[in-house]
Symmetry: D3
Subunit: 135 residues, 6 copies
């Protein structure tokens, strides 16, 4: 049960600042589909614009990491933060960018292993090794 309204296309039309962002989402993704996250965020057009501009510049432009790798990192963080919607939307996005079942399986295996050793290291309060020091 959402805590804000999910704005329809008709409602977005009536808010120019939100409409401009939705137009850019559609143009950037070359698709008419705009998912619920943006329809919820559109209740605050200033934050909608801020988050979309950042996401667009971080996730869609050329960079040092492969676009699929970026989606897998996103899934990893979303899992550890227990964000159901984010896990679902970014798994769909990773699949759309070509993630294979084998890659998905390996991603989940690493996430699970990391969680396991994270908890062990915290429970044992392991002190940092001097060898880790940044040169």
């Amino acid at each position: 049960m959402a805590t804000v309204k999910l704005l329809t296309d008709a409602e977005i039309e009536a808010i120019p600042a939100a409409k401009a962002v939705f137009d850019d989402i559609r143009a950037t993704r070359k698709s008419d589909f705009v998912n619920n996250f943006w329809r919820a965020l559109a209740n605050d057009p200033a934050n909608l614009k801020r988050v979309w501009d950042t996401l667009k510049s971080v996730m869609t432009v050329e960079g040092a990491l492969d676009p699929l790798v970026r989606e897998m990192i996103y899934i990893a963080v979303s899992t550890a933060n227990a964000c159901q919607y984010c896990v679902q939307s970014h798994t769909a996005a990773a699949r759309a960018k070509g993630m294979t079942d084998a890659q998905h399986g390996e991603l989940l295996t690493i996430i699970g292993l990391a969680a396991q050793t994270n908890h062990l290291a915290i429970a044992m309060q392991v002190p940092a090794d001097p060898e880790f020091e940044v040169q």
Copy 2:
């Protein structure tokens, strides 16, 4: 302040089950250095063996993902779980596997952005789009 003793090489020598794992860590990594996590975990040789065997098979063998990508996923999970030791050790490991400053910067940017949208999606309780359904 660790909650268990960090076993020295001399103490490890006296525990054959732990010694066997330490020998395998050194052989696999081709290095004499064994970091504190394993010295702490060695207090429970059965778990030491279990965790090392899993980590070895997940992180060091050939797979569907590049070894450096695996380390970056590990950093992402460790950050979201607030595991200081894990962030430090896996950042060092990623650097040892060739992570550039540009890749590190992009990794951190994605982690931060994911955390931001994770919290927004949770605070708004955005419902899943039917379009995300696995075929």
Copy 3:
């Protein structure tokens, strides 16, 4: 799917210790509606009383912070802890106390930004500045 039964008013009637707390909830809130959290917690009347007494004394009496601010802090913590029910119930409570859409939007923006810089600070393991020291 709840892991405990949600007790109905008839079932509460049969447990005097729970009944007393429900009576106080209704009297304090000047409303007959008692939400599911208390119906679940009523399976353990001692904890029901303990939690309600604390919540009543922390959230409803006059204090150093405005009642609406208290609800917004509650939403912030609940979001970071990924508690769906708590986000939903305290957003409803904040609205009932007069939270405007602009305030809600700003609250969400701050929560998202804090999460972003939280993750960045953890991933970089930034050391405390001596200037933060409590005098």
Copy 4:
């Protein structure tokens, strides 16, 4: 132990994109002191600028919430995310904005109570009440 270098003023001087942000931080805050978070983030000048611009527009301009309330919300999120540095820096910031001991005590009390009921609601998997529905 930081996972990136903390850039000194001399090092910042040599990176024009970072220098411009540091100048703006100093001008906005009317203080020469720039805390470690920004010195760490300056390793990636693009993200430094992005995060600072967002933080400046969210935390320092006039808005729907009092500046001190914003800092208290920041502390709440940082606590639940277990970000030590963020708890320390934003508690110092809140004090600088006039947070009294009584307000700090009440903030901590609410954070603790919220965490308690968050965990209870998750452990009992309490279903949302229809009454919470956004109109």
Copy 5:
């Protein structure tokens, strides 16, 4: 909405590596019922085997802790990690192992109290007492 397919018994039949694990789950638990977690994990038979083998050796063999205590620890971790499925499945498992309502109530009370003092200790950044040092 799951991000992977939940494999049916017919689909499991066609994957010998997954079939062997499902046979062992059924034999170990002396029950035909195999819950959804394993049907999801079966998409990656190697990880299915690894996780089941670990879970079997940790949760079902004789050890230093009572089997019911192990389930209660599992519920505690799952709650703090906000894993809905895990809270539900391990609460059912604990009940099947004889957990009484009184024990469940006390477990939840401790989880809630721990969460409260965890957040207070983090918000206050309490330094470790030298008295905690492991001898």
Copy 6:
């Protein structure tokens, strides 16, 4: 670096409400040592009393669970919440109540395993089995 002052015995003497709680801590534990958590919390005597009274009634009186089991549940929650101080203090407390190395090792193993399957279940968004329904 604490965000509040750690009150000394002399400072506690001057605050009757805090002094009364410290006296009760000492009497209940039959020890003069009062650890830093309470010295930090004493800055807010009302919350000090509330938290101590709850902790005393939950952790020290006879109940449905063994006192050592309660401490182990506390460690489990504190680990998942990444509370360093809490992990350290409750591990010390568990040892003081007789926790053996074998029990500690098994506790850590379960915590690590639970974290692993928590993350897997979240990443796969496994739906609840109808069989888990509370009767």
